[in-house]
Symmetry: C2
Subunit: 79 residues, 2 copies
DNA sequence: AGAAATTTACTGCTATAGCGGTACTAATTA
DNA sequence: TAATTAGTACCGCTATAGCAGTAAATTTCT
């Protein structure tokens, strides 16, 4: 399961759980209905801001993870 | 700090930590050099697959988070 | 089954993302 | 200081993302 599939699945899952149609979600997120359909069907070339609008409308957040990412926060204390 | 800024900062941080130039990262990720520059400077309209290539090249993963997302995994056991 | 709602699947159109090339401007290093 | 490297900032070009509209297919509900 790659990242796009996870995203597709998560969006469809949360949309259904929220009782929204694709059209309704599109309106809430402020994007076209075609994009909802495309993303839910695994389209890999969505724009990040479009995706974030949809995730936001469904109250899905995301976090980046890496072995050293915690260093990034403490780096700001050097000022 | 919005989502795009988090991504921008994380990419630049990890790239520097990896000792890569923008051009080198672009080559490793298989994208154009302009995109690395744009993303690091907060461009909000990147394509998801482009972003994922870059994150992948830097060994950054991301995970979706929501109050009910754990239900999605167990949902697959109903087949 | 039939009706209504939803999803899927196209269409043409416009705006723009990503590309490599070039050039100027920092930084970095000798 | 001079030379090299890296980053920033444009350019024109091509491919395509996102859009609304339409309609067929599928699902849902009575």
């Amino acid at each position: 399961m790659n990242n796009q599939n996870i995203i597709s699945k998560a969006i469809r899952f949360h949309r259904k759980k929220s009782g929204l149609t694709q059209k309704q979600l599109a309106e809430i997120a402020g994007v076209g209905k075609s994009v909802i359909f495309d993303i839910e069907n695994g389209k890999e070339t969505v724009q990040l801001d479009t995706l974030l609008k949809i995730l936001g409308a469904l109250n899905i957040s995301f976090r980046l993870e890496s072995p050293i990412i915690h260093l990034m926060e403490t780096e700001n204390e050097k000022s």
